[in-house]
């Protein structure tokens, strides 16, 4: 598992570490009973205060995602079913960040949700459609959809 921190991300560093572990569980880079780097290793690698790493590990341990085997280290829980709960936690984090940003800009929740759908449809369209005519059609469809909602 590779953890990278984003200095521009305004969330506390420990939460960034928590999220990255969750992500690694979701995409399969981390699996049940896999060992995690020690607090010391991760602190040295990321050049962060070891307390930050400990805090992240405590949080994950509290959620039952990882556990500590005395004298051996920290491991992913044997009965982890990352799909549902981890995915939910991850989505929640992304949603919370988007909401903070929306409120700062004086936007309504509904406006944000509608626009996310619109943008997603547009991007999907751009990926799958190559001719300008089709892209125009997709944009028109998006606009119609937005208007209907």
């Amino acid at each position: 598992m590779l953890v990278t921190l984003d200095p521009r991300d305004e969330r506390p560093l420990y939460l960034q570490i928590v999220d990255q572990v969750r992500r690694a569980l979701l995409d399969g880079t981390l699996r049940a009973e896999d060992p995690l780097p020690s607090v010391r290793e991760l602190a040295g690698e990321l050049v962060v205060n070891p307390r930050t790493v400990s805090q992240a590990y405590r949080e994950l341990e509290g959620e039952g995602v990882i556990y500590v085997r005395r004298g051996q280290g920290t491991f992913v829980a044997p009965t982890i079913h990352p799909d549902r709960r981890e995915r939910r936690a991850l989505v929640r984090g992304v949603a919370e960040r988007a909401l903070v940003e929306a409120r700062r800009n004086g936007l309504e929740v509904e406006e944000l949700i509608t626009m996310i759908r619109e943008v997603a449809v547009e991007e999907e369209g751009e990926e799958s459609l190559t001719t300008p005519a089709l892209r125009t059609a997709a944009t028109a469809a998006t606009a119609a959809k937005g208007g209907a909602a």
Binding site: P7, E10, A43, E45, N49, P50, V53, R104, G106
Partner: protein, 305 residues
């Protein structure tokens, strides 16, 4: 969050009214430093703000004109040697003593003073930082001296590290390695660290407390989250003839404006500050958090950057 009820023993380092003048220049003015036990406290300030003077006073290498400094409950003026035994110090000055000794010899020499000296760890540090054992101390480059000083400060695993610009003169690769070693050191050994730097951004993820020193005065000190929560950049639109509201005036730190758009760094809880801006007729358009460095620089004079 500060600890109004905390007793002196909760602080690894505390100074009370610490003041120092050199001739007509005030080096330190009534400094009330509070470094919580186990903290990584970053001291920020421009050159000449008094950082090095403060470090020297904690080491009892300089005498204050007024006030006291207490390290682990010991008065640094009366119990200097006892204090120094528990401290690893990387001084601001680059010229190490014992210029005619080899690095290896100096390490053995210093090791003899500390019963806690960890020889295996010292060897590891020498290797990791690339200190040349057979080279004369006097022949080391600026960066080489810094690396040797770091080994000397860390190898006896002191309870307190006083690091005055410890990465000064190191190239970026060694700089990062030194900071990684510091992070590992913290994981292995319970240590309080007081560290001064010109490069706050490199300590961004290690720091948990920050103090801002300006013209010898400690203008603010607080936990890092508090600094980043309460110092933010506000962008807003103002009506003609708009004035900064009275209650924000004292904290309106940096301001730039283009037409009716004003951007300034303000201190306070976001909701409260936004409320006051709105009450003054401003339309708040955006609030953004600042990197640790920018938040800290808000307390320092404009020409600091």
């Amino acid at each position: 969050m500060t600890h109004p009820n905390a007793s002196a023993s909760d602080y690894a380092v505390a100074t009370h009214g610490l003041s120092k003048r050199y001739g007509r220049k005030t080096a330190l003015d009534q400094v009330e430093l509070r470094v919580p036990d186990g903290a990584v406290y970053v001291l920020v300030g421009v050159n000449g703000a008094g950082k090095s003077t403060l470090f020297k006073m904690l080491m009892n290498l300089e005498r204050p004109d007024a006030g006291t400094a207490v390290v682990f409950g010991l008065d640094t003026g009366r119990e200097g040697p006892e204090v120094r035994a528990q401290v690893g110090y990387v001084p601001d000055r680059q010229d190490a003593p014992y210029r005619s000794m080899t690095c290896a010899r100096l390490l053995r020499h210093v090791a003899a003073f500390y019963p806690e000296w960890d020889h295996a760890y010292a060897d590891r540090l020498v290797h990791a930082l690339g200190v040349p054992p057979q080279q004369l101390v006097g022949g080391l480059s600026k960066g080489g001296t810094r690396r040797l000083q770091l080994v000397l400060a860390l190898a006896h695993r002191p309870a307190l590290l006083l690091l005055d610009e410890p990465t000064d003169g190191l190239d970026p690769v060694v700089r990062r390695r030194a900071l990684a070693l510091l992070a590992e050191h913290l994981a292995d050994t319970p240590t309080t660290i007081l560290i001064s730097t010109h490069h706050i951004q490199e300590l961004e993820s290690l720091a948990d407390h920050v103090g801002m020193l300006r013209d010898g005065r400690l203008v603010a000190q607080m936990p890092r989250e508090e600094l980043q929560r309460t110092v933010r950049s506000y962008q807003f639109e103002v009506p003609d003839g708009w004035q900064v509201p009275q209650e924000l005036q004292a904290t309106a730190l940096r301001r730039s404006s283009a037409g009716r758009d004003v951007r300034c760094t303000l201190v306070g809880e976001e909701q409260e500050v936004t409320g006051r801006l709105v009450a003054s007729g401003a339309r708040v358009r955006q609030v953004s958090t600042l990197a640790l460095e920018d938040a800290a620089l808000a307390f320092l004079p404009e020409d600091a950057s």
